[in-house]
């Protein structure tokens, strides 16, 4: 049974069809890349899967349960996590605080009575888990620097750390290497590989950097104008002529 199953997702914005019926299935622990030209509907797909947008038609199932009607925060609590194309960091907070608040929300904190009685502060176990995530992502040196003072590449790592702090079953990354140099991209690849190996997290990766995607995923899905034009093992898809025409143009 697939971990995430989206069937027949459609989304229109006025006259523009962002997603014509699109279906995607992700198995437990699988890594899937989603690529395609700009405007193909990749981020729209993510937004529909995560509840930020409501699809006009189609069903989405996570772990056997229908999640179409659920608001974003409930989907997050079920075990989905995501990073954003344009960073959505908590300005004013440090990377450590990003990770801590995520862990604690997942653990079910956030009640007034807890704070008043003195149970509201992070405990040593939570701090230890936070240190672990920060070390995994390589942010230990800047763990206590407010995020607005960090560079873009580091900001992307903070978003990644935040997504991992929730120990998600499904990690959805939207162009994580955008704006990163070769070295930073390589560290993201290393982190994702390690996370998949150690935790068995399923990964869906939207990317333009085909080398990076090929290094992380086994399966590749190609979107073009809201339709899926290919879905299969990485090498096969990249060699497909239809994909090449859509992505690279005709002059081969």
């Amino acid at each position: 049974m697939a971990l995430l199953e989206a069937v027949g997702i459609c989304k229109r914005f006025g006259g523009i069809v962002a997603l014509s019926p699109l279906s995607l299935a992700v198995a437990e622990g699988e890594a899937v890349g989603v690529v395609g030209p700009n405007g193909a509907g990749k981020t729209t797909l993510f937004n529909c899967l995560f509840g930020i947008l409501h699809p006009d038609a189609g069903t989405i199932t996570f772990d056997g349960e229908r999640i179409d009607g659920l608001p974003t925060f409930r989907r997050a609590r079920l075990g989905m996590a995501r990073t954003f194309q344009r960073l959505e960091l908590f300005t004013g907070m440090t990377p450590r605080q990003h990770v801590l608040v995520t862990e604690r929300v997942r653990a079910g904190h956030g009640h007034l009575w807890e704070d008043v009685v003195g149970l509201g502060r992070p405990g040593p176990e939570e701090q230890r888990m936070a240190d672990e995530v920060l070390e995994l992502v390589g942010l230990t040196d800047v763990a206590d620097v407010p995020v607005e003072a960090l560079a873009l590449g580091t900001g992307r790592l903070v978003e990644l750390a935040r997504a991992l702090a929730a120990r998600p079953r499904l990690l959805m990354l939207d162009e994580p290497s955008s704006g990163l140099d070769g070295g930073e991209t390589a560290s993201v690849v290393a982190i994702l590989t390690r996370v998949r190996r150690e935790r068995g997290t399923a990964v869906v990766l939207v990317e333009h950097d085909l080398d990076m995607v090929a290094a992380v995923v086994e399966r590749l899905v190609v979107l073009d104008f809201g339709r899926m034009i290919a879905d299969g093992p990485v090498d096969g898809v990249l060699a497909d002529t239809g994909v090449r025409r859509a992505y690279l143009g005709d002059a081969t």
Partner: protein
């Protein structure tokens, strides 16, 4: 039918007055990105200068030129250069607070310059205001009505033409979205921004001179009241379409007159609903229309070029400095208590008690605006709910005041939660305006009922007793207020450092990000509102008990605006900021009361001007000064350490508690 017309037709010139103000508001908002609530105050300045010049026997055209053509744009230029230039890429709160500050400062500066004599029978610009020029459906049309209607329509038509045909409007809107990008396109953003302010301030001056005759006398509060009602008309246009705003204004005026005509007179609903009608319309529009929904706001792609803003939380301090700060705070608090109880005369003790009570109300602003980033312009109304609840319970059920205060806080919290519900889809300015409309409906309708605020007669709240012992004496009440403030401050501090506080901080940083990690943002927002309103309610009930009698006028919307300005200026992100704001405000008020009446609004002027510093120091003026002092203290402490122990492993900054 003719009865309908007899109600509807006089509504047209009324509606044009709304439309003129609303168009000015929309113009300013589109051209500068600032929702300029001080537009009415600017109109007042030109109206006043025109009045004085005409009474000094200047010819009308000369008076007009000075008051509108010269003064208006000059004021606008000054405002842009000194103030709004720095807020171009700032978040909504940072843009709103200076506008609120100006709302306070401009009338009081004007009063200080020109004196506060009553100015009645304002002169008209064209036509004589009371002369009936012709009849329409057997109703006489006066000069004032004719002038207002004709000029409004003409002016709006001219503006629409100017914006449609040239690149002027496009450039102004581009600068609002991203000054740096427009500069990359070869446009001088500073010049366009300055021109935008000069244009909208000219318009304010024009509106001021034209609409002065609508009222019996020239006063700032009349213009602001008109402006606040006109916001509904601007909302019809979605804060962007000038023609729709005109239609909205006229519609609002006509509807208001028709409703006033058909409602049975003498009931509270009729006497309250008519003035409250624009605010009800505003609330409905804000909630119902898609335009005001909190969508992905267009962010300036080049905003990252600005240096990061000063951190809102104070930096961790060296252990010695942190200890020193704590000791100093304790000392100051002790001195304060001793002074209030023993060293000053009774009226000052009363003032300081008032400061403590006000600080409790201000903590509500800290929670809602500081911690959750939502701008609320109705905190005084929540305080009123608490006060009237306690008073009514004491009057009708002989409930002890302390119990009534607690229940008043709980009721206010419930009201806060209810008010929060329609705000869940809104953000920024729209949210602030929805809370403002609630405040105005409370002022005009809710609090007037005898079972609430009892209108002008007010509600009596006796001094409290505790287990039989009376706390009526000034000293005893001071003690009570101090205990309540300490408890409230501790509660807010604990929440800020705990799990609710960190989720609020996350929400404040990025709502989408917060939802993506599993934060129930809706519940969080309602909780913040309820908590904030509860604090305001408790403070309000205490205030009522201190004064022993309160009426709705003690909690009107102008206080809500003032509260936001005062707290934001002092420091909206910390408990200390609220406490300092409360005490500073009441102490200054008392000090100013002893000056001649010309300087009566000195306090408003001081805080108004201080609010302008908010632009550079959103963490708060006092927080900024404190940080500077503590930075020097840390430097000094390090210097001493270096001299004492010259070994290379000198203590690095140990994260202390700070303030």
């Amino acid at each position: 039918m003719s009865q309908f017309l007899s109600y509807a037709l006089p509504g047209i010139p009324y509606g044009c007055a709304y439309a003129l103000m609303a168009v000015g508001l929309v113009l300013t908002y589109q051209a500068s990105g600032v929702f300029n609530l001080a537009f009415g105050a600017q109109a007042y300045v030109s109206a006043l200068v025109f009045y004085i010049a005409v009474h000094d026997h200047w010819p009308k055209w000369a008076a007009f030129v000075v008051a509108v053509v010269v003064l208006g744009p000059a004021l606008g230029l000054a405002l842009d250069r000194l103030l709004f230039r720095y807020t171009r890429t700032a978040p909504p709160l940072v843009k709103l607070v200076p506008a609120l500050g100006l709302l306070l400062a401009i009338p009081s500066i004007t009063q200080a310059i020109f004196g506060s004599a009553v100015r009645d029978s304002p002169p008209a610009l064209f036509l004589s205001p009371d002369h009936v020029y012709f009849h329409l459906a057997s109703l006489g049309v006066t000069g004032e009505e004719l002038a207002t209607t004709v000029v409004t329509v003409v002016v709006v038509a001219v503006l629409v033409l100017v914006f449609r045909s040239g690149t002027v409007g496009l450039r102004m809107r581009a600068v609002v979205e991203s000054p740096r990008l427009t500069e990359l396109a070869g446009i001088r953003a500073d010049r366009v921004g300055a021109f935008a302010w000069m244009l909208s301030s000219f318009f304010a001056g024009l509106a001021g001179v034209l609409l002065a005759t609508v009222y019996a006398d020239v006063s700032a509060s009349n213009f602001t009241a008109l402006l606040v009602a006109a916001i509904a008309a601007a909302a019809v246009g979605g804060f962007s379409s000038l023609p729709l705003t005109l239609v909205g204004g006229i519609g609002l005026g006509v509807a208001q007159e028709v409703i006033g005509g058909y409602l049975p007179s003498g009931t509270i609903l009729s006497s309250g609903l008519r003035p409250a009608f624009p605010f009800v319309v505003l609330a409905v529009l804000l909630v119902a229309r898609r335009t005001f929904r909190q969508g992905a706001t267009a962010t300036d792609p080049l905003a990252a070029c600005d240096p990061p803003p000063p951190s809102l939380r104070p930096p961790p301090r060296m252990a010695e400095v942190a200890l020193g700060t704590r000791a100093f705070t304790a000392l100051v608090a002790a001195v304060f208590v001793v002074t209030a109880l023993a060293l000053v005369p009774g009226n000052w003790e009363f003032t300081l008690t008032q400061g403590l009570v006000l600080a409790t109300i201000f903590l509500s602003v800290t929670v809602l605006t500081g911690m959750s980033g939502q701008i609320s312009l109705c905190q005084a109304a929540f305080a009123g709910v608490g006060a009237f609840c306690a008073g009514q319970l004491a009057m009708h059920f002989n409930m002890p005041v302390l119990a009534g205060t607690l229940l008043g806080g709980i009721l206010a919290a419930a009201v806060g939660a209810v008010v929060a519900l329609p705000t869940l889809r809104l953000g920024g300015i729209a949210l602030a305006l929805l809370t403002l409309s609630f405040a105005l409906v409370a002022d005009n309708v809710l609090f007037v009922y005898p079972w609430a605020g009892n209108g002008a007669s007010g509600v009596v709240i006796p001094r409290p007793t505790l287990f039989g012992a009376s706390l009526a004496g000034n000293g005893a009440f001071f003690g009570l207020a101090l205990v309540v403030l300490v408890l409230a401050g501790m509660a807010v501090g604990v929440i800020q450092r705990g799990s609710v506080g960190e989720q609020l901080a996350a929400f404040r940083g990025s709502e989408t990000g917060a939802r993506s990690i599993g934060v129930d943002v809706r519940r969080l927002r309602v909780t913040a509102f309820a908590l904030s309103a509860g604090l305001a309610g408790v403070g309000g009930a205490l205030y009522g008990s201190l004064q022993q009698s309160v009426s709705p006028n003690d909690f009107n919307y102008q206080f809500s605006l003032l509260f936001v300005v005062v707290v934001a200026t002092m420091g909206v992100y910390s408990v200390a900021g609220a406490v300092e704001a409360g005490i500073a405000y009441t102490v200054l008020q008392q000090a100013v009361d002893n000056l001649p009446s010309r300087y009566g609004s000195l306090l408003a002027m001081v805080f108004g001007l201080a609010a302008l510093s908010y632009v550079r120091h959103p963490e708060g003026v006092v927080a900024f000064v404190k940080r500077w002092v503590l930075d020097r203290a840390e430097q000094f402490a390090r210097f001493l350490q270096r001299n004492d122990a010259p070994d290379p492993s000198e203590a690095a900054a140990v994260p202390g508690g700070g303030r």
